[in-house]
Amino acid sequence: MNNDTKQKNRKLVRNLVLIAVGMFGFGYVLVPIYDVFCDITGLNGKTASVAAAETARDIDVSREVTVEFVTSLNQAAPMAFRAETYKMKVHPGQYYTVNFYAENLTDKPMIARAIPSITPGLAAEFFTKTQCFCFDEQSFEAHESKTMPVRFVVDPKLPKKYKIITLAYTFFDNTELTAKKQK
């Protein structure tokens, strides 16, 4: 192999290695891109993480939307968790309160966090909560049970094609993670 080829090889290899390193970085860049993309388009059904102020809205009594409630536990977290009802019919613009019950089944204090998700995802921006246990971490004493109200309103601007909205909460046992962070 003559020197000319060697030189060319070295340059090419350098560039290709740079591409590979760049693509490794690109994998990480995908994380914020995904968040921003979901934020703009509302693709993944994330609801606002802070409470909205309760303002009077026009109530559309002619229209009924079904809101379903789903509760689940992540990795069999040692809790009991349910909603007072599986579904309810609501008028857009009117405020409703629905109670959720959670209980710590262990003998130790527990810190848990509920993560909400709306299906279909694009309906999330029309679903507003003025009160929710999901805005903060919840701490439970041993065997403590809590009644946690969620107050919400469906925006009358909700496109007509959405007739059912599912609100799902998953409780994560965050005791260990929170303890680690506080250290």
């Binding site: 192999m1 080829t5 060319k8 090889n9 090419l12 290899v13 290709l16 290695v17 591409i19 590979a20 390193v21 760049g22 693509m23 490794f24 970085g25 690109f26 994998g27 990480y28 995908l30 994380v31 995904y34 979901c38 388009t41 693709l43 993944n44 059904g45 992540n74 990795q75 966090r113 993560i115 299906t119 279909p120 995802g121 694009l122 998953t170 994560f172 965050n174 993670l177 680690k180 962070k181």
Partner: protein, 535 residues
């Protein structure tokens, strides 16, 4: 035709090192190619044994032989080993052997790196296999390693992740080497558009590898930090999103499956013209079709996740983009068919495997098209239908073409002819049993049998039994392949082959202008003429 060997000078060494050390320190592209091929054959049998564990368990409903956890480890390890240990290294082995010969280069551009990338592959594969013996068992989450399930893996998780890193670095190094060889080592007169298609497809594959392997390495690194360093990339409780992993994984994963099929196309486009005794029907359309498929592979990833709850617009985009792939793929299939049309065809073993590839790959492609239709994909998703689909595009496509390549080039490499009768027996056993094995899985999937389960409803019993019988016949038929290869290396039928082995092969590609068996060093001076038959 043997002018090349006659003019060696005394400064060059004449042959390989003696003894075992030759294989460890070698930088010769033929030695490294052999190492890759032998290694991938060994992994093929290891992964195949795992497949037989799966099929034995599924022979009847109920739990017979293995625990569900171990069963899931088997499906995961079978996939990882077949993808990263068998199919990919086999094509890298072929690339090592054939690319320098096909472009008239004396060796790969970076011989030392070549050696290192092989041994990193071995290290990575051993690390992966070692997880089988760890506390909590080998990874059992499926080869896609989706969180949060994969984060429940026991002690094996960091080892599996590091082995993915090693395998990734190995294939990136291999890809860099291939690109450097193709760009800088071509013989005078070998312009890009005169390169054999195998070289072209590998060039494009190598770029795919460099673009996506690092992304996968990044994704598994995020898994690692999520599990051990309290990051929350995929943990919803910490503000992450498990669906994000699926996006990143399939951004890698879809190009990755084309890494396994594009070189397959290249070998098929090399073999079919030789036995049809015609030039390839449309050389440049093949090149452009390959490039189009590679480009499209980057913009269709979410068709693997139609059921995650994407909005309609997303489903439609990924559906139509996916359907587009059928166009360049159709160009290829029609190209192979038109190449055979009115050709003076003969049906030696490599050609038989290649024809079976064209037919059965097309079948696998059609089921792919079925699944690209987002609304019907909800029925196929995570059932045996998808298992049947991707096995049709991998086993009677990539694996068959690897068999074809072995029969096609073994006589060139060794100077000995393989046993044609046994080769044909191997072909018919494989071609029939592979369909007995995978075709019924379409029915199972459509009827609703989920994938990755050790037990199933009794309604699925009959076709599972048929499928398992096919699996065992197919698996044991491959021992015949092993026997044929060993027999050929040891002298074959005793008949010495000519330099071009196959009639007029030297018109198609440069390697057939060299003596058989190939000398240890070739093209130390570049070839004077470039074959032009493939236009």
């Amino acid at each position: 035709m043997s002018a090349v060997v006659a003019e060696h000078d005394d400064h060059h060494d004449h042959g390989p090192e003696k003894g075992l050390l030759r294989w460890i320190i070698t930088t010769n592209h033929k030695d490294i190619g052999t190492l890759y091929l032998v290694f991938s054959l060994a992994m093929f049998f290891l992964g195949g044994a795992m497949a037989l564990v799966i099929r034995a368990e599924l022979f009847e409903p109920g739990l017979q032989f293995v625990e569900p956890q171990f069963f899931n480890s088997m499906t995961t390890m079978h996939a990882l080993i077949m993808v990263f240990g068998a199919v990919m290294p086999a094509f890298v082995g072929l690339a090592n052997w054939m690319i320098p010969l096909m472009i008239g280069a004396p060796d790969m551009a970076l011989p030392r790196m070549n050696n290192m990338s092989f041994w990193l592959l071995v290290a990575g594969a051993l690390l992966l296999a070692s997880t089988l013996f760890m506390e909590g068992g080998a990874p059992a989450s499926g080869w896609t390693l989706y969180p949060p399930l994969v984060l429940q893996t026991g002690a094996a998780l960091p080892f599996a992740i590091f082995s993915v890193h090693l395998l990734g670095i190995s294939s990136i190094m291999g890809a860099i080497n291939i690109i450097a060889t193709i760009f800088n080592m071509r013989a005078p007169g070998m312009t890009l558009m005169k390169m054999p298609l195998f070289v072209w497809t590998w060039l494009i594959t190598a770029f795919l590898l460099i673009a996506v392997m690092p992304v996968f390495a990044g994704a598994v690194t995020m898994l690692l930090t999520d599990r051990f360093f309290d990051t929350s990339f995929f943990n919803a409780a910490g503000g992450g999103d498990p669906v994000l992993y699926q996006h990143i994984f399939w951004f890698f994963g879809h190009p990755e499956v084309y890494v396994m099929i594009l070189p397959t196309f290249g070998v098929a486009s090399t073999i079919i013209p030789v036995f049809a005794r015609k030039p390839l029907f449309g050389y440049s359309s093949m090149v452009y079709a390959t490039a189009s498929i590679a480009f499209l592979s980057f913009i269709v990833w979410a068709h693997h996740m139609f059921t995650v709850g994407m909005p309609i617009a997303g489903e439609l985009y990924f559906m139509y983009a996916t359907m587009l792939i059928a166009i360049p793929t159709g160009v290829k299939v029609f190209n192979w068919t038109a190449t055979m049309w009115k050709g003076s065809m003969t049906f030696e073993t490599p050609m038989l495997f290649s024809i079976a590839f064209v037919v059965l790959f097309t079948l696998g492609g059609f089921t792919g098209l079925m699944m690209s239709v987002a609304p019907s994909d909800f029925q196929y998703h995570d059932t045996y239908f998808i298992v049947a689909h991707f096995h049709y595009t991998l086993v009677p496509a990539s694996v068959f073409i690897l068999m074809a390549a072995a029969y096609f080039w073994l006589p060139k490499w060794t100077g000995n002819m393989y046993d044609e009768k046994l080769g044909q027996l191997h072909f018919w056993l494989s071609a029939i049993s592979v369909n007995v094995l995978f075709f019924p899985q379409h029915f199972l999937g459509l009827a609703g049998m989920p994938r990755r389960i050790p037990d199933y409803a009794v309604q699925f019993a009959d076709w599972n039994m048929v499928s398992s019988i096919g699996a065992f016949v197919f698996g044991f038929s491959q021992l015949l392949f092993l026997y044929i290869v060993i027999k050929t290396i040891r002298g074959g039928t005793g008949e010495k082959v000519t330099d071009e082995v196959w009639e007029d092969a030297s018109k198609h590609s440069l390697e057939w202008t060299l003596p058989s068996p190939l000398p240890y060093h070739t093209f130390t001076t570049p070839p004077k003429e470039i074959p032009t038959e493939h236009f």
